[in-house]
Amino acid sequence: MTTQMTKQPSKYQLVCGLEIHAELKTKSKMFCGCQNDPFGAQQPNIYTCPVCLGMPGGLPVANKQAIERTIMLGLALNCRISLFSKFDRKHYFYPDLPKGYQISQYDQPFCYNGWVETSQGRVAITRVHLEEDTGKLLHKTIEGKKVSLVDFNRGGVPLVEIVTEPDIKSAEQAKELAQTLRQMIRYLNIGDCNMEQGGMRLEANVSLSADGQLPDYKTEVKNINSFRFLEQAINFEEVRQAKLLDQGQAPVQETRGFDAVKGETFSQRTKETTADYRYFPEPDIPPLRFTPIQAEHLQASLPELPNQVLARWQKEFGLDPQLIHRLVISISQTQLLDKVWQKAQEKQVALNKLAVWIINHQKIITPQITADQVMAGFLNQTQTEQVDETKLTQVINQVLADHPAEVKRYLAGEKKLLGFFIGQVKTLVVSGADIAQVSQAISRTLNN
């Protein structure tokens, strides 16, 4: 169990809601055919076209896969699905926004009225909507001159926005909620949520209430790029706002940034200078309609979700919830482990012990590995001794010499071939070898 952080007792109750942006994993961008791979791009501005560059005559065409994935996420967050939905234009000027507006959703999001469970209670989800990401600005000095460059590889990448109700009562709960959402997006395999690269961005709306009522102001802390910073930012705001309230001052409605070095928030702009986005329905994309049957079909096609897996594994296999929590990270891993638990039951292996072993050997879970191989790995390691290092090295060298093409591919970055080498080594001589030991030895040899 997580321990309650010791904070000075306050006469104010935190009132906090989150707005979370996550880039969706899709083949192409949100409104054009360009490849959606901003982090894999070798050069700036290679995944661009007249549509995502905002050239004259370029028209957006909505990405079906992105819409399906947004609805899938909404359903996983217990949302209702809008049978009538549309895109809207949100206007503001910034050099990384080529059209002068962002295509987003204003009053008819794809999903609304959902909820997420946390250890400190349920948090309602207001809405889940879909929009496009902006380009990326780079501020550099070239030949002594300060310049701003813009890379549009990210411009037009599908971006999902999750907005919660102000149900969050502690910084810790906010952090847990954000982590749960990231886990869900990763579990559904619809986004990578890489925080460092900006694949997931957090914003917190923070205010304090003395009487349990919703306060008439809020501060918006923007551009937070880690869960730890989210917690820090909310804690800082709690202290700052309480001080103001104690002095009889009302905190102003404003947007604040977060300084990660100082661990403090700072004022960016106040209500008076708030942007007017001049939303109106995107005329280039007809409204989207779903029939109740289509919505039901989408609901039915939803995979088994982490909390459902948790309940089932507890019931069917008697697994410890703490262990399950660490193992349910993706649909594919869940499917693999389902088979593993069945085999383990057949062989009368202690399931919780096996689960601990898998958590400690998470690296062996590759897309290629089978349930039998996992079982074998576990049994070998727990039932056989460590293999003689000299013998192992000999076998590894032989295997690598026999498969020069695979070695070349592995060295070129195809890391999943490690599984292949492990299999070869094991079938050749060292049948009962500890997978972790073999794997480490192969990696070591290959990387030298």
Partner: protein
């Protein structure tokens, strides 16, 4: 055999100098029969362009036109390499596209608009890019940063707009056929003023992809031609679903030539806006012409429609809102020149559109306008439950003199009043010449409208009218 005789006479009558006045259908036939060569047509067209230079019709000529024409002709493509005048808001690959604004003075597109792509594939050749109101903002060509085009019928007068360059190009026989775009009147109004045929298809019939956007929810690219039959032929090549434009109709395009000559017998036609006070004088001029429909066996009667004056407000608000959004991309950061190069009309529209979408005003203006738009939609649905076709004047009167727009910020909106109600709901319509004033040589145009996706009905009745009256100089096939 009468038709054949006429055709022979026509060819004899035409020396090489005026092959430029052939219609698309005539030129295709003459080429197929090897009566004339494509080179002869181009020479004739080029000399017409030279002679009409003072009219300021073309902004850019395509230096590759004849090379491309030869290729298309040799490939036996349906449009045989014939020269098409293209409004300068269609993106043309490797050919400057300015939308008549200095902002795009140096802009060379990397791709063809879908319509251009389709026309080229069918053997059409972009002869040149025609003048227009800058960004298609206007009904005169006077907002062009390169000055107005003059009306070939009488150069003291304006050609109308925004597709005034193309309608003038057709009227002056400086091309075989042309392309325009209409948001509310921009094809039909200048076609009326120049005495040519202009078809505004149903919104979504023709792809907008690659066309500099004006008001996205009403922009409709369409053909501007010498005859109705030419319009049918052009529309056939332009129309159809486009994956690059989500608002295009996914259904198959009908064959517009099939029933073209079927006549109007038995059709019920409603006459709109005949009681609008400011139209009284011109209505009396065309009254005898309207009888043509009854002579041809149709039933014509005045129909009660929602007052078109309200549409001026609706159209102005919706269009300005979309304009303010669509022009936001022209910052000069990635291409083109910066916003200081925008003309007065564009600035006025951006400001008004920004205002009508602003917090606290959007409900009063933009949202209200959308509600009234729905009322017009309902009104037309009601009318079409009673009538097969609706007709009206294309615009309130004859062409206005050069300089007429000075100080008239609402010039276009008032000129296009009769076309705005149907345009804001997406209906198709055609302008056919229906009267000519002997003294000024200026024309009036008749606007024929049908329900959504029924361009076939419009073309059919337009063709019947054209054949039964004397106002179309090119439709002599009698």
């Amino acid at each position: 055999m009468m038709v054949f005789l006429w055709y022979q006479e026509l060819l004899i009558e035409m020396n090489h100098k005026n092959l430029n006045s052939l219609t698309l259908v005539q030129a295709l036939k003459a080429l197929a029969d090897k009566q004339i060569s494509l080179d002869e047509i181009y020479e004739s067209v080029n000399s017409a362009i030279k002679e009409s230079q003072k009219l300021n019709i073309y902004l850019t000529l395509n230096p590759q036109a004849r090379v491309q024409a030869k290729k298309a002709y040799q490939a036996h493509l349906p449009l045989a390499g014939l020269p098409i005048a293209v409004k300068d808001n269609y993106c043309t690959k490797n050919l400057k596209t300015t939308a008549a604004s200095l902002v795009l003075d140096n802009f060379i597109p990397q791709f063809d608009a879908t319509v251009i792509y389709r026309l080229k594939k069918a053997g059409g050749v972009v002869l040149g890019k025609t003048n227009m109101d800058a960004w298609a903002h206007g009904s005169s060509t006077e907002t062009s940063d390169w000055g107005p085009t003059l009306n070939p019928r009488n150069p003291k007068y304006l050609p109308g707009g925004s597709s005034g360059g193309t309608t003038a190009a057709v009227a002056a026989n400086t091309c075989i056929a042309g392309l325009g775009t209409e948001t509310a009147g921009s094809i039909r109004q200048p076609s009326a003023w120049c005495g040519v045929v202009g078809l505004k298809p149903t919104y979504g019939r023709v792809s907008r992809s690659g066309i500099v956007a004006m008001a996205s929810s009403t922009d409709s690219p369409g053909p501007i031609t010498k005859t109705v039959e030419d319009a049918a032929l052009m529309l056939q090549q332009m129309a159809g679903h486009d994956e690059a434009d989500s608002t295009t109709n996914p259904q198959a395009v009908p064959n517009f030539g099939q029933d073209l000559k079927k006549g109007v017998k038995g059709l019920k036609i409603g006459l709109l806006y005949s009681d609008v006070p400011e139209l009284k004088k011109v209505m009396s001029l065309i009254e005898p012409e309207l009888k043509t429909f009854e002579r041809l066996g149709a039933h014509l009667e005045p129909a009660q429609a929602l007052d078109p004056h309200y549409a001026i407000g609706v159209y102005t608000i919706v269009q300005r809102a979309e304009v303010s959004s669509n022009l936001a991309r022209y910052t000069g950061i990635r291409y083109g020149q910066d916003r200081s190069h925008l003309g007065d009309e564009a600035r006025r529209r951006i400001m008004l559109g920004t205002f009508t979408l602003s917090k606290g005003y959007a409900d009063r203006y933009y949202t209200t306008a959308q509600k009234v738009r729905s009322l017009y939609r309902r009104d037309f649905a009601k009318l079409f439950s009673k009538y097969d076709l609706l007709i009206s004047l294309s615009n309130p009167g004859f062409a206005k003199k050069v300089g007429a727009t000075k100080g008239e910020a609402m010039f276009g909106e008032l000129e296009d009043m009769l076309l705005e109600p149907s345009s804001i709901v997406g209906l198709p319509g055609i302008n056919v010449p229906c009267y000519r004033d002997d003294k000024t040589n200026l024309y009036l145009g008749l606007n024929i409208m049908a329900p959504m996706w029924r361009e076939d009905l419009i073309l059919r009745s337009g063709w019947a009218f054209e054949q039964a009256t004397d106002w179309n100089q090119w439709a002599k096939a009698k």
